[in-house]
């Protein structure tokens, strides 16, 4: 499974990319593969303040609905508005065009997230 080294990972299979003006969140390659073909995405409202570990979105494949958790506390600043019309983007580009939402983290340094190698280790154990 692809786990880019410039991202941080939650054990619940979300990734976080820290940027100058906030952070972007999506689901990992492992998560999209386990879900298989995504057919529906429910995204959070912009401006919503969330706690780390709170359910913020739902990704649904034919077989099941899966909760997506906020990897850090913060405020949702934007969502990927292209996803509802093309949810399969999550399968095709989980780390690129398939991103879910952007968040302004409360804390400058995220806590409790894993490096790519530590996350990859959770998948094999």
């Amino acid at each position: 499974m692809n786990t880019p080294n410039d991202l941080l990972y939650a054990k619940s299979h979300e990734w976080l990319r820290l940027e100058k003006d906030g952070a972007t969140v999506g689901i990992t390659d492992h998560a999209q593969s386990a879900l298989s073909d995504v057919v529906f995405v429910e995204l959070p409202k912009t401006g919503r303040k969330v706690k780390a570990g709170e359910v913020v979105a739902t990704v649904e494949s034919v077989k099941a609905a899966s909760d997506i958790y906020a990897p850090v506390a913060g405020e949702i600043t934007s969502v990927n508005s292209a996803l509802p019309n093309d949810p399969g983007m999550i399968n095709r580009e989980p780390y690129g065009q398939g991103w879910l939402f952007r968040i302004q983290p409360e804390q400058p340094k995220p806590i409790g997230l894993l490096s790519n190698t530590d996350y990859a280790a959770t998948l094999t154990s």
Binding site: S36, F40, E60, V62
Partner: protein, 345 residues
């Protein structure tokens, strides 16, 4: 792979959507070795089964099969099954994996020197070949030996072994269910895959089996059927035969429900594109009032919107009426529809 009634079963091979589409447009091959295969043999087989099954097995001619139920004293469904008559004193039953041991024990209580039941879990192979190309693929493997018509079963010899082929399925497509010993099953599986490859055949998992059966409006025991749900409530009263004298468990209650209506009834629901799909367990509302619950729901790969079976209180809303189901605390619109979501083939 996921655990399922004591078995490890693949949810998908190449991908649920690809497998679903292959079965609708070309063909799909499903491993159904987990399904319970029970043989009932002896001179008293028919009269014994008549006193257990909700559909009348005496209607079957040699080589014919039909859908039936084993009901409890309350008229609820212990299991739904296919019953095939091979000869007057030899019947073949295919039951759900989750009920296999329970049904075999229940049947064995009726054993006498004139009727015996056999077929322990894990002792036989089964596979379902389904889809528009199923006949062409099976014909290649059988090399021209004629195949029985729909809802029939026949014995064949393949790879030196005696096998059964039934013209039945659980996808809404034409197709076959093939039953054999395990080593022969492995050979048939490979032979079908090879013959089917140029025709677009894909091996299919539990995931597409569920989306295909729901599009065809076919019930799943444990969701749409249960010991607390009668066949009449599930909308399957046509498979409960009361035109015979013989009693069977729950008959009086089923007779009453058929005559004067059941307290609940299963309806079809169709969602809308772009809305969250209905799922098992979601509440169903008519205005402010909760009238029932979704027993099975899925985003239909063929239709592009959610479809569901829901068990609601009677009098049930008519086809075309607007209802809502609740997803994660919000209401989503749905229309009442026939329970078969795709046209019959």
């Amino acid at each position: 792979m996921i655990p399922f009634a004591g078995w490890n079963l693949p949810v998908e091979y190449s991908g649920l959507l690809a497998e679903h589409k292959a079965t609708r447009q070309e063909a799909g091959l499903f491993d159904i070795s987990h399904m319970g295969q029970i043989r009932a043999q002896g001179k008293a087989t028919l009269s014994c089964l008549e006193s257990i099954l909700a559909n009348d097995p005496s209607k079957l001619k040699d080589g014919e099969g039909h859908y039936s139920f084993i009901t409890n004293e309350q008229g609820g469904v212990i299991d739904d099954l296919l019953v095939y008559r091979l000869s007057p004193d030899d019947f073949f039953l295919v039951v759900n994996a989750s009920r296999h041991t329970e049904i075999l024990q229940l049947l064995k209580k009726h054993e006498t020197p004139q009727v015996r039941f056999s077929g322990n879990p894990g002792t036989a192979a089964g596979m379902a070949l389904q889809g528009p190309q199923a006949a062409a693929i099976l014909n290649q493997v059988l090399q021209g030996v004629p195949i029985p018509p729909r809802n029939h079963i026949a014995k064949f010899t393949l790879f030196g072994a005696s096998i059964l082929i039934a013209t039945t399925g659980y996808t809404g497509e034409n197709g076959y269910e093939i039953f054999s010993d395990i080593p022969t099953g492995l050979k048939i599986w490979s032979a079908l895959l090879e013959a089917g490859k140029p025709l677009g055949l894909l091996p299919c998992g539990l995931g597409s089996r569920d989306s295909l059966r729901l599009e065809a409006g076919l019930p799943l025991n444990g969701q749409d059927l249960s010991p607390e749900i009668s066949p009449i409530e599930a909308g399957l009263g046509m498979f409960v035969d009361l035109n015979r004298a013989r009693p069977f468990p729950g008959r009086a209650i089923l007779e009453k429900q058929k005559k004067s209506g059941s307290p609940r009834i299963s309806i079809g629901l169709q969602g809308q594109p772009g809305q969250p799909p209905p799922r098992h367990g979601y509440p169903v509302y008519q205005g402010h009032k909760q009238i029932g619950v979704i027993t099975s729901g899925v985003p239909s790969p063929t239709l592009g919107h959610g479809i569901a079976l829901a068990l609601v209180t009677t009098p049930a809303p008519a086809c075309g009426q607007d209802l809502e189901f609740e997803v994660r605390g919000r209401r989503v619109p749905a229309k009442v529809s026939p329970r078969r979501f795709l046209p019959k083939k």
